[in-house]
Symmetry: C2
Subunit: 347 residues, 2 copies
């Protein structure tokens, strides 16, 4: 009932475990005839080396860890997480790695990483959701655990490897696009601004506005959890202003959907009376339309980011000297039906 072991396989073949191991792992000092004999027997028995034993013997766990922080206040699992994992998982599967997940309360992250290191269950980790100054980076450097950050941490002093979307540029372009359409009262519905990516996005937004000499209006800038409710809330408050915005830049499709709901509740028409540009992570279950996009959006697949992060980490593990590595993904600006020229009255 229990799976066949190397030793049993060797016994059945009248060979030593050494030879069987070598045959299966492609070492040269074994006769081709016996090698095929061994492989066939292995296949017949569905033999797979016991990962734990192999890991112990080789010192390589053949597994990558993902530590998912759960902040105890808002208890939100980042919605992009599933897609990211799917992308990374593809790469791991292809390369024979396992993926280990730890769901850890925000406050216990340091302990979690220490533990992971000591327990030796993984060969490296992916760091999710970096903050502006993220202490995990220094910790991982100290622990000597290979890692790649999905995103960046602006104020981290140690060098580290990352894969990130050019958030600044994306939001700058989104804003410029609206400015070009004549909009001046442009609102930003941002993510939580202790997250590095949200800060960069604001910078991009502000840079575009400043370049056109449009003054900064704090009443048109909000941050928060990127939910549908957040978008609706923000839009409701802003549309009630004496001088409401004619356009919104949103950090996620969910926020944008909330904004759209509120716009339509006001009897306004999206793309004519009011414009929206949103960032689109191309989540599997949240598509921005089919063939033609609904929202004008800065688009960048988070699943692809997962693939890139995973590939980079595996690369670093096999060749540590190649770290730190960096990879910048550019979002494309796709035009949908949510944007149009600013209404003349507002010009």
């Amino acid at each position: 009932m229990s799976p066949i072991t190397l030793k049993e396989l060797a016994a059945e073949l009248g060979l030593s475990p050494t030879t069987v191991s070598r045959a299966l792992n492609g070492y040269p000092e074994v006769n081709e005839a016996t090698r095929t004999r061994v492989s066939q027997a292995a296949a017949r028995h569905h033999y797979r080396p016991n990962t734990r034993a192999k890991a112990l013997a080789t010192g390589r766990a053949m597994a990558i860890g993902h530590v998912i922080p759960i902040s105890t206040q808002h208890e939100i699992v980042n919605p992009i997480f599933a897609d990211f994992i799917a992308g990374a998982g593809e790469v791991y599967a292809r390369e024979g790695y396992d993926m280990l997940l730890s769901i850890v309360p925000d406050a216990e992250q340091a302990r979690a990483y220490r533990e992971i290191r000591a327990k030796g269950t993984v060969d490296g980790v992916i760091v999710h959701g970096p903050k502006e100054n993220d202490e995990r980076i220094a910790l991982l450097v100290e622990l000597g655990l290979p890692f790649v950050v999905h995103g960046r941490s602006t104020e981290a002093k140690a060098p580290y490897s990352w894969v990130d979307v050019n958030n600044t540029r994306a939001f700058q372009r989104a804003t410029e696009f609206l400015l070009d359409l004549g909009h001046r009262r442009i609102a930003l519905v941002n993510g939580l601004e202790f997250m590095d990516f949200a800060i960069r996005r604001r910078h991009g937004f502000e840079a575009a506005m400043a370049a056109r000499g449009v003054p900064r209006d704090p009443a048109l800038m909000v941050q928060g959890e990127m939910t549908e409710a957040q978008g609706a809330h923000a839009a409701r408050a802003m549309l009630a202003l004496p001088s409401p915005p004619t356009a919104f830049v949103c950090a996620s499709l969910l926020s944008a959907m909330g904004v759209r709901r509120e716009i339509e509740a006001h009897g306004l028409k999206l793309g004519r009376d009011i414009s929206i540009v949103t960032h689109d992570d191309e989540l599997g279950y949240l598509r921005n339309g089919e063939a033609e996009p609904i929202f004008t959006a800065t688009r960048s697949s988070v699943r692809e980011a997962g693939r890139r992060c995973a590939a980079m980490l595996l690369g670093i593990i096999t060749d540590p000297a190649s770290a730190p590595r960096h990879e910048m993904l550019e979002a494309v600006l796709v035009v949908g039906r949510s944007t149009g020229p600013a209404p003349p009255s507002a010009r």
Copy 2:
């Protein structure tokens, strides 16, 4: 640099590895004085037993596997997955288990489970997204790998353990609620009906309708991926019918949001002209309003389901004789602002 080992710790303490191991694992045959001495030294060095070695020695991997099927056609990662994992992860963390994820194309699932079994990386698995007749169940029984199904598989012949929401009852109640409000033209926007849960939901819907003698109208019943676009699509088609529905029963908040969008695009008012009852998985990033729910909904936390599944599986692993176990979760019907009496014209 590399983590301290049991042997090193023992050497430092002038003890044998045996004693240190016993002290740390709470065995009785060790002096209390030396036990505290050992624990303190262990704490000081941040000692953690190497999981691989421990697993090899004990035969228990202290890890649970989740095999996430990715259907190659639609490539969608189930949006409830992140929340489920978060719930399960809580339990694993508390009990000292790791969580292993495999992202596997639909077609290769059998191979994946076989491999997992042979590699011995986990002590049990959670089965996600069961179909009406799911062959994974028979396979896992054959492999002798402990497992718990999140959901059920109506036509599976072997006994198995599961945690499920009472989907039939939930949708029956949702439908009855609308019928009580005078609705007769009620539409069902369901999930993919090769999934067991979707079939049960349809049964619940149909049972309620039949009980009131309302004839089945295929034009008002659709199935599909539960996305915002699906909801909008379905609603658009149905609202164009000669005799459009006055109410919708939706399988997910995303679908419901799509339906709502289309309703409002028709200039109709939700909760007055048209009603919606939706199922709500209480996803962290997709809340149904704050204090007061927006949609009237059958609510059941998928995160809680994750906790229950995990707890059940760990229970089965420690006491195999306790399998098969079953746990039925009842959804509560919460009333929001998306439902109201059927418009008199439609009665």
